[in-house]
Subunit: 579 residues, 2 copies
């Protein structure tokens, strides 16, 4: 019973052995992550089109729920860039940004996404995430990074623009370029340059001046906080907000409120598909991060339990004024590097953010949105990586096609169309490849019992025997292909008396393919040619045994291709053939 419960509540596992040492390590990690998360949470809420406090709220209860239900020890859950972009795109279709309906729709999206994740977890359907191939994910993340960076351009320029695709964004920004506010541009560009420098150049500089590695690290992480502080104070001192610099303004002070997502059938109907998409993308991002970090410490995560952990986190976000969350790459790596040992580090981070929500929100009144935009731009540009194009080009044109299509469609048609097309194209290309399978004519490798392609290896053959190795499972998509191929091959070689189909690579024969095999058998029988099978696998043979095909088959089924060959070509003939 306890063991069963422990499966669903991993906290019972690590909680029992929690000690003082783990506590101090977790505490240290929590402080660093909290400092990093305050500006990041505000910024991602801005990206999602929500009020800044939503970002903070989305980091409190969700972190705690993940700590209870999740299996990764270092994963940090909260708002992330790509999911924030997806949220803006989905919610933007049902409500106007800035309205109450928009915030409610974001809650609904988190709730549906959480419910879907828990459902997948309970049904153990985590493998569904595999439908997103590695190249499609890489392409999608790169394209999203570009989209996000461009979506922040309006904040850096101080103009009002909108759009969910690159052309829309560029056109909209172009049309409003006249409104550019130069003070905002100065703040935005300076903050961006500063944050790039912090990311690349600060740590070596600090080390050169004798700072300890740990201190250098903490100061680097605090870079965004410094940018926030300096720009906020500048705006306050010089009253820049009266000169058109947009600021964050009033943020409610207090713990996250209890909120209820809108659950009208209409709203659910509109948000269900985006919620499913967000769930799967969030899950894939989260699981890859969690697996990478777990592998480093030889720990294991359970993908199905991860679904439940992330689902609980999203439901938590929906009930406390947040929006869809997932395990983020940057924050998890920071958490891990800072020494987090258990999910308790996450809980301490939540406490830190709760204190910030209660005490610190008045301090960000004068914070310019341009600074937040700079934070986002610097964070997402590290996601942009076109090397996947080169790698897949060299390896597989199908994968290359899927990546390029994902990148192009994400940029030009939006994130939802982009990722959905990526998945659809990957599947269609795979089906296309299997629809025209590779079939090799094979012969015996001399001195062995092994058979290989006659065009690639020097092998023994016999004019009366046609041996074909079918390099694909036989199913409806390619059933007729084999029918046509055998017919064509047989009509070429007049001396052929026996055809052996070597099934070593046939992992399945579905009903359509069974009918095609029956048709092949019938046609060869009429021509007086024997049809034989060899190396039929156990699971396939089990199936065939239940049909009358094996009785109708005019030839035999051999355990190995060599047995089949020996039955048709006696050793004397082999010697002759070899001469």
């Amino acid at each position: 019973m306890l063991n069963h419960l422990r499966g669903y509540l991993p906290i019972l596992d690590w909680g029992r052995t929690y000690d003082r040492n783990a506590f101090s390590n977790d505490m240290m990690a929590a402080v660093i992550v909290t400092i990093m998360l305050i500006p990041q949470s505000l910024a991602y809420a801005l990206l999602a089109g929500l009020p800044p406090e939503a970002g903070i709220y989305a980091s409190i209860l969700p972190i705690i729920l993940y700590a209870i239900f999740g299996t990764s020890r270092a994963l940090a859950v909260g708002p992330v860039a790509v999911v924030s972009l997806l949220t803006a795109s989905a919610v933007g279709q049902v409500a106007e940004a800035g309205t109450a309906g928009y915030a409610v729709a974001a809650l609904t999206l988190a709730f549906l996404s959480g419910g879907f994740l828990v459902l997948l977890g309970v049904l153990r359907l985590g493998f569904l995430a595999n439908f997103l191939s590695h190249p499609v994910i890489a392409g999608f993340i790169t394209a999203s990074g570009i989209l996000i960076a461009f979506s922040q351009l309006k904040h850096l320029l101080g103009v009002s623009a909108h759009g969910h695709t690159l052309p829309e964004l560029l056109l909209s920004i172009g049309a409003h370029l006249g409104e550019t506010n130069f003070i905002t541009v100065i703040i935005g560009v300076t903050a961006t340059a500063f944050l790039f420098w912090v990311r690349k150049g600060l740590k070596p500089t600090l080390r050169r001046y004798g700072a300890s590695p740990k201190l250098a690290d903490v100061l680097t992480k605090a870079g965004p906080v410094a940018a926030v502080a300096v720009t906020t104070i500048s705006v306050w001192l010089f009253g820049l907000n009266e000169n058109g610099v947009k600021i964050v303004g009033d943020v409610p002070q207090g713990l996250p409120p209890l909120t209820l997502p809108g659950l009208s059938p209409d709203l659910i109907g509109q948000l269900l598909m985006p919620a499913i998409l967000i769930s799967i993308i969030g899950f894939v991002e989260s699981v890859s991060v969690a697996q990478t970090l777990a592998a480093k410490k030889r720990q294991r995560i359970d993908p199905d339990q991860e679904l439940i952990g992330l689902g609980a986190a999203n439901i938590g976000a929906a009930l406390t004024g947040g929006y869809p969350v997932t395990g983020g790459f940057a924050r998890s790596v920071v958490n891990y590097d800072a020494g987090a040992e258990t999910p308790a580090a996450g809980a301490f981070t939540a406490v830190g953010l709760a204190i910030a929500a209660v005490a610190l929100t008045p301090l960000v009144y004068f914070l310019p949105t341009a600074t937040l935009a700079a934070t986002i731009v610097v964070a997402v540009l590290s996601l942009v990586d076109f090397s996947i194009l080169k790698k897949t080009w060299g390896y597989s044109k199908a994968d290359f096609t899927a990546v390029s299509a994902t990148i192009l469609l994400t940029l030009t048609m939006g994130v939802e169309v982009g990722v959905a097309s990526g998945v659809a194209i990957s599947i269609l290309l795979h089906l296309y490849k299997t629809s025209r399978p590779h079939v090799a004519e094979i012969g015996l490798v001399p001195g062995t019992q092994h058979f290989r392609n006659i065009h690639r290896h020097s092998v023994e053959t016999d004019p009366t025997v046609l041996s074909l190795r079918v390099d694909e499972s036989l199913y409806f998509v390619n059933a007729r292909f084999l029918e046509d191929l055998v017919q064509a091959r047989v009509s070429e070689g007049c001396a052929i008396k026996n055809v052996i189909l070597m099934f070593s690579a046939v992992n399945e024969v579905d009903f359509s393919a069974l009918e095609s095999l029956e048709a092949i058998n019938l046609r060869l029988t009429e021509l007086g040619i024997g049809l034989h099978l060899s190396e039929v696998k156990g699971p396939v043979m089990d199936r065939l045994k239940s049909t009358h095909f094996l009785h109708a088959l005019n030839g035999r089924v051999f355990l190995s291709q060599y047995d089949a060959w020996r039955a048709m070509v006696p050793p004397a003939d082999i010697d002759k053939a070899a001469e």
Copy 2:
């Protein structure tokens, strides 16, 4: 040049050798088919929701165009039941039946469908039809037959009802049951019973009374004409149309008119998907009939050229007042049985129907629609065949699921949803199966060089070597599965020093799977375990050679599993293991 042209114009082939004998055979077949087609064409037009003459028009120019471009010698092209139903369902969504807009939309549907077929043919994409698996087709035809029979019930009862799904039809007929016209019921039931008897009992009766087989055959084919004549005369004599019996009424007299399909972007947008669906279903039906008939005479048809023939026929239908057509099963079999030798038989049929359109249409003024409905019901009930459920249940639950879903969804949600779901479910079930591939642990079959599953065969193994035969291509859907599986197996067996992955059934390794193989290699290297591959196929090896995976691989790639085994387990050890 002429050869190239002949590829696109099969008429140049058979036209050169056409003689008197072929002419008289073709002529005879044409007479029989014409007699059969007159009532059938009127009836199918009724089913499609179009005026009766549309059925005749759809059989004239299309037949001639198919005779020029098609490759089958016996296929008879024209309106068929399933495509008529699909037309009613598609056009019913954009216009009201009986309006001018409805007829124009039907032309558009034929035009789009024809254009799509020609496009597929020119691009040689006939294999796309393979995505419809045999069981899905069988289920779809059965469900369509039931739907069509129920859609004719209103004509047999003389009530007005509508609907495109079984529940809709039943509810609608139930609500209008009070309007039942009893004279219509008598005509409908008598005609149905008579036609069933003609189909089953007439030929033996005639033969018993000494009729020659040929005469018996012709008289049987003329059964529907007799039913049409008798019921028409009855209505005329007794003025039954004044007692509420619905009749065909005025049918324009003359050759098919020249018509232009509506090509507004809006209409095209609404009809494109249905047109694609109709094209593919029509093509699949047509090709199966043509292939069956060609095989009987050892002729061959060219599926890609068939696309062009059917496409031309549909464009012809769109330009001459028709609606989507395809090669029909019943009419083609009749044509073949009646001795048609070349496509000229089709051209003669077209002439017969043109004469009917010019001269005979006034004769059908008093024809009751109930008689046409009876013709349809008797024709389609022969399509209904549930045996596919039993056959697939015994062979493969996945195929059974696809058939049942196709039947259920076609009946309850309509033809388009039904067939689209059938295709989608087949593909998803296939992907699901490949997502959790069969992986067998293998050992050496004693006295051979052949390796088999240790759980199915008595084989030699060695505790330090783990040999796994992966029974599936490795691609994104199952990439992580292998990673997890190898990790789990290795953590079970502590003595394992080497892992051999036998790739005889791996037909593809895509980019995602390549990354997984790299991850497996990395993890095994850390554990001090060797990773080896065996029996990697040519095409897969070509790919891998272009990557740095083979350099990173800590073990070797062996030509055969036996070579790999011998390299790790010296003969002496084998003897010991065998003891």
